[in-house]
Every structure is written in structure tokens, then in C-alpha cells.
């Protein structure tokens, strides 16, 4: 007999489903989550329907604890403010909530990441003469700065997991102290504002975490992939000594929730 809580088998779910479900697991009940557009929205919505009914979501455009009945397409969407506890603006979310210290968990994306969890969403190449421009920082580095834990959701590609990112848009565990440029632990730069940092990176292939020194290691590999597959898609020397087995795949119930309740219109889930 198959119950709703059984795991789906390989082929019964898409890579993006796996990503969303693995990410959702990072949410503890009661967390105050500050999330970006896209996959983070799926993850937080799914978590709220499962293990974290009391998790609360803040979107930078101005909504606190909204309860969208239709999935927002962006954090600026009025859908975010439906049945929200507060609808205000950026001063409220960035300063009145985030800088105030309320945020437990950040859910963010990134184009490139290094082994310290530094993320680039700005340019490819030298910033002063870039080869390619991405969207830019948005709230990514802000949310990541002061959240107690940050989970990055990314695509697994060698060119995205780099020894050094071309531009540190969002601060990991080792960063520069500007304007001098010293390379130090985040704690050194943030002082009393050091609340935490990146705790996980979730991709279409694996889950990565960070050790006591703030170095990324491989935690679990998604079904269908091997440790070697992951290593081949990481551009730096990845610590695989702490691999903790396979990531649990989505359950039938999760897939059901994702496609029928969270994103029935197929906005992020094709």
C-alpha cells in the first residue's frame, strides 16, 4: 500500500520538486523566514503546509506574515500582502524587522557561490569591466547579513560553485573588511551584529552545509546522483568526508501539495 507519506520514486518527480522539498525541510516551526522570489516561495509555502504551520514569512517589498491564496510571482505582488499581519514598505521589512533582529531564516538564490558561502548575483568577470551583468544584489546580501541561518537554493553547475566568485554580492563566512580589504571571519566584520550565516546550500543534486570554520561540505546527495557527480559539478575541492547518505526524495503528499495547493497555476513548477 502506498501512503501519502511514502517517498516518490525516481522519475515520479522533477529536479525542481526535489529542490523545493529539500529546501522546505530547512524551515523549523515558528521560524521567521525572510524569503526571495521564486523557489524560496515554494519552499516556505510547502513548509507551512507541512512541518512548520507557525512559520512566518517576510517579503522585502513590505509584507509580514502574508497568507497568499494565490502564489505570488514576485515579492512586490499584492498576493504577498493578502491576510498579512503587516503591509508596509521596505523601511519596515529591512529595518523594522530584519535589522531589528527578528529573522531566523533567510531563503535566497544565487548565480555563483564559493566554499565560504559567498554568493555572486552581480557580474561575471571583473566588476569594473564585466563580461556579463546579472540582476544585481537586490535584498539578497541584506537578508543574508542578519538572518540567523541562510539557505541558498541554486543550480548545480561547476561554473557556479567556484573557488572564488567574481564578485561577493552576499556575505558568507569569510569576507573582506572594507575599506581595508582584510580577509576575515564574518564575525570580525559584523561584531555584535554577527547573528549567523549560510547554513545550507540546496541544489538540484545535493544538500551542502557549512562546518564550524564556515567551510562548505557535502551533506547529502539527491537520489539518482553520486558523490562523484556532485564533485564534478563543483569547481573547488569539496569536502565529502561528512556525507550523510541520500537526501530524502519528495513524498507523494509533498508533490500533491506543491502541484495542487502551492503552485497549481504552474508559475514556478512547469
Amino acid at each position: 500500500m502506498t501512503t501519502n507519506n511514502d517517498y516518490a520514486k525516481n522519475g515520479e518527480y522533477k529536479p525542481i520538486d526535489m529542490l523545493a522539498c529539500a529546501a522546505a525541510k530547512e524551515v523549523n516551526d515558528g521560524d521567521v523566514v525572510f524569503a526571495g522570489t521564486g523557489l524560496p516561495m515554494l519552499a516556505i509555502a510547502l513548509a507551512q503546509l507541512e512541518q512548520a504551520p507557525n512559520a512566518v514569512c517576510i517579503y522585502e517589498a513590505g509584507s509580514v506574515d502574508g497568507r497568499p491564496i494565490d502564489l505570488p510571482t514576485s515579492v512586490g505582488d499584492s498576493r504577498c500582502a493578502y491576510q498579512a499581519s503587516i503591509a508596509a514598505g521596505l523601511a519596515e521589512t529591512f529595518y523594522g524587522q530584519l535589522h531589528c533582529g527578528y529573522v531566523d531564516l533567510a531563503f535566497l538564490g544565487g548565480a555563483e557561490i564559493d566554499m565560504y558561502g559567498n554568493v555572486n548575483t552581480t557580474v561575471v568577470g571583473d566588476y569594473a569591466a564585466p563580461k556579463k551583468r546579472f540582476t544585481g544584489s537586490g535584498g539578497n546580501p541584506d537578508i543574508n547579513s542578519l538572518a540567523k541561518r541562510t539557505v541558498f537554493i541554486m543550480l548545480q553547475e561547476k561554473r557556479r560553485f567556484k573557488e572564488n566568485v567574481d564578485y561577493i554580492t552576499s556575505p558568507g563566512w569569510r569576507i573582506h573588511r572594507w575599506p581595508s580589504g582584510e580577509w576575515v571571519h564574518k564575525k570580525e566584520v559584523y561584531g555584535n551584529y554577527f547573528f549567523g550565516g549560510p547554513t545550507a546550500v540546496i541544489t538540484n543534486m545535493a544538500v551542502f552545509r557549512f562546518d564550524e570554520d564556515g567551510l562548505m561540505y557535502l551533506d547529502s546527495v539527491h537520489p539518482g546522483y553520486t558523490v562523484e557527480d556532485v564533485k564534478e559539478n563543483v569547481g573547488f575541492d569539496l569536502n565529502v568526508s561528512r556525507v550523510n547518505g541520500a537526501t530524502s526524495p519528495p513524498t507523494y503528499n509533498q508533490l500533491d501539495l506543491l502541484y495542487k495547493k502551492v503552485d497549481p497555476e504552474g508559475i514556478f513548477l512547469p
Binding site: T37, G38, A61, G62, S63, I69, D70, T73, S74, V75, G76, D77, S78, R79, C80, A81, Y82, A87, A88, G89, L90, A91, Y95, L98, H99, T122, Y127, A128, P130, K131, K132, R133, T135, G136, S137, G138, G139, N140, P141, D142, S145, L146, I168, T169, S170, P171, I175, H176, W178, G181, V189, Y190, G191, N192, Y193, P264, E265, G266, I267, P270
Partner: protein, 325 residues
């Protein structure tokens, strides 16, 4: 308090000079003063200096038209309907636009300082990022931090030792006070009280920080009505200088409780934004090919617009197709 002046879109755009320093209401693809942006392009404004939170379609229309000289911001794109800000990216890569990057909350810090008349605003947000790398201070590289332009601070940021609690260092961001705030508002009262619906973004701060404020209003309503719930209003009449009544003035961006984002329009725009030539053809059709806002609306047609109409309870369209299912 001088009462605001009611003007036309053409007159509003006519107030803006080449080289002026502009800021905007809204966020990415929401509540952007698009009708006025189109008119700025129609009037062929050049060398504009922009300061904004997450940019969007309006930024890209100006970028495509070659109207931008300096872009100070933190993000540009069209959300789900266009991943990148192609025009800004092209400008930055080619070197035709000076891009000064901040984090989103650093932009907000500058606007809060500007709005409150403070010289700076402290923040711990996004310390340790390359945003603060002195090598990447592009206004400084361009020689524009020499103090000759009072709108450009002599430093991109400062770091000071906090003197009260032994908390170490903290970042300070300078105030920003653009020449103009170009605002799209949901409602403006006959005495100038301004209201926007749903999240307020940084609209209030943008109004306060600017020297002069032009509002394009989805609708004008009795001030008495807005004054029944003064806690919902964004600005008092004396804070604004010019008003244009302009229904659908934010199209193709969304205006909560009036209309949703025109996803198809933006998707199409995103495609043309990838090359100068395609943009120019698009602009010939949608900007120069119409005499103004009314002809633009005619061209869109009632059925397209009706489909975007917000459900009056939910505040967004429940008829527009958004996803693949």
C-alpha cells in the same frame, strides 16, 4: 504650501531636463510611472541620473532608449517575465552607463536619510561585500566624487567606530536627494493627499527625499474620502508639486487593486530589450508610434486591459493566465 498644479503628461515630461537626477515610485514591475517614462522617451531626454530600489521595466525602457547616464541601484529585471535588465547590463558592459551598485537595504538607507533630512543613515546590512570594495566605486572612477555635484557625495560610504556601546564598526550610507520623484499613485485627493494600495515599498521616502514631486494618479478622488482613514495615506498635499490624472498609467507594470502586471507585454519587451535594434523597433511601435497615453491604451485595446483588471476583493486579476497550467 503651494497647492499642486494639475498638468498633462507632456507638460510633466517637459519639466525634466537632460541630465536631471530622478527617482521613482514602485518596485520592480509594480506601480511604475510608465506613462511618464514613455513620454520622457518621446521627448528624447538624455543623460539621466537614476537612483532607485530594485529597478524594473521603466528602467529598461529608459536604458533601451539610451536616456541613462548614471544608474545607482541594486537590481534590475522584470521578475518572472524577464530575468535580467538587458539594457542596463549592455550599458554597463559597453561602458555607456555608469553603474553604481548597492545592496537593496543600502539604497533604502540612503532614501531614508534623504527623506528624513539626515546626512546619513547607519546600517549593518551587506557589510563585507564587494559593494563596498573601493575599487568598484564607479562614480569615483568617473571623477564624479569631487564635490562639484552636490547630489553626489564625496564618498560612497563611510565606516565608523560606534561610540556608545563598544559594538565595533558600522557602515554609514549618505543621504540621497534627487531632483525629481516620479510617482505613480493609486489615488490622489483634490487637495493632494496621496494614497497607494498594498505594500508601500519606499514610495513615501521617495516623495520626501526629492526636491520636486510629480505624481501620475490612477484616479483623483475627494480629499475628504482619503481623510476618513488618514492612517492609510502616504503623503500630504504640500509634499507634491504636480499631478497628472492618468488611468492605466502604470501599464505594463501592475497597480494593486486596479490591474495586474501585463506579463505578456513585459515578456515581449524583455525579448526586444536584448538588442538596440529590436528595442528601437519596439519603441517605434509603442512609444513613437502613438501620440500619447490615450492612443497607447487604444492600441492595447479593452479586452487586453479588462483581462488585467484586478478583482476588487483580492486586489489582483483572477482572469489573467500567469503560469503554464
Amino acid at each position: 504650501m503651494a497647492r499642486f498644479e494639475k498638468i498633462t503628461l507632456q507638460e510633466a515630461a517637459g519639466l525634466i531636463n537632460d541630465g536631471d537626477f530622478l527617482s521613482f515610485s514602485g518596485f520592480t514591475i509594480w506601480r511604475r510611472p510608465m506613462a511618464l517614462i514613455y513620454e520622457l522617451v518621446r521627448q528624447q531626454k538624455k543623460d539621466l541620473h537614476l537612483f532607485e530600489v530594485n529597478g524594473g521595466t521603466h528602467t529598461e525602457v529608459l536604458a533601451g532608449a539610451g536616456a541613462i547616464k548614471i544608474w545607482e541601484s541594486c537590481w534590475v529585471g522584470h521578475e518572472l517575465y524577464g530575468k535580467l535588465g538587458e539594457g542596463i547590463a549592455r550599458g554597463q558592459v559597453e561602458g555607456s552607463i555608469i553603474v553604481e551598485d548597492y545592496s537593496h537595504a543600502q539604497v533604502v538607507a540612503r532614501q531614508l536619510a534623504g527623506a528624513y533630512g539626515l546626512p546619513f543613515f547607519p546600517t549593518a546590512l551587506s557589510m563585507g561585500t564587494d559593494i563596498l570594495n573601493p575599487k568598484y566605486d564607479m562614480l569615483s572612477k568617473a571623477g564624479l566624487r569631487d564635490g562639484s555635484n552636490p547630489k553626489i557625495p564625496v564618498k560612497k560610504y563611510d565606516v565608523i567606530k560606534e561610540p556608545f556601546f563598544g559594538n565595533g564598526e558600522i557602515l554609514m550610507m549618505p543621504a540621497v536627494n534627487p531632483d525629481w520623484a516620479l510617482i505613480y499613485a493609486s489615488q490622489v485627493g483634490d487637495e493632494g493627499t496621496v494614497r497607494v494600495f498594498s505594500q508601500t515599498y519606499v514610495d513615501a521616502e521617495v516623495v520626501k527625499a526629492a526636491d520636486k514631486v510629480i505624481v501620475i494618479a490612477e484616479e483623483m478622488v475627494p480629499d475628504n474620502y482619503l481623510r476618513q482613514e488618514p492612517e492609510k495615506n502616504l503623503a500630504a498635499g504640500y509634499a507634491i508639486d504636480y499631478v497628472v490624472e492618468c488611468p492605466w498609467g502604470a501599464h505594463p507594470t501592475g497597480s494593486q487593486f486596479f490591474y495586474d502586471v501585463d506579463a505578456d507585454f513585459i515578456r515581449q519587451f524583455y525579448q526586444v530589450s536584448k538588442s538596440k535594434k529590436a528595442f528601437d523597433e519596439w519603441a517605434d511601435e509603442w512609444i513613437f508610434g502613438v501620440s500619447g497615453h490615450e492612443e497607447y491604451l487604444d492600441k492595447l485595446g479593452i479586452n487586453r486591459l479588462q483581462n488585467l483588471r484586478a478583482n476588487s476583493v483580492l486586489g489582483y486579476s483572477t482572469t489573467v493566465k500567469r503560469g503554464t497550467r
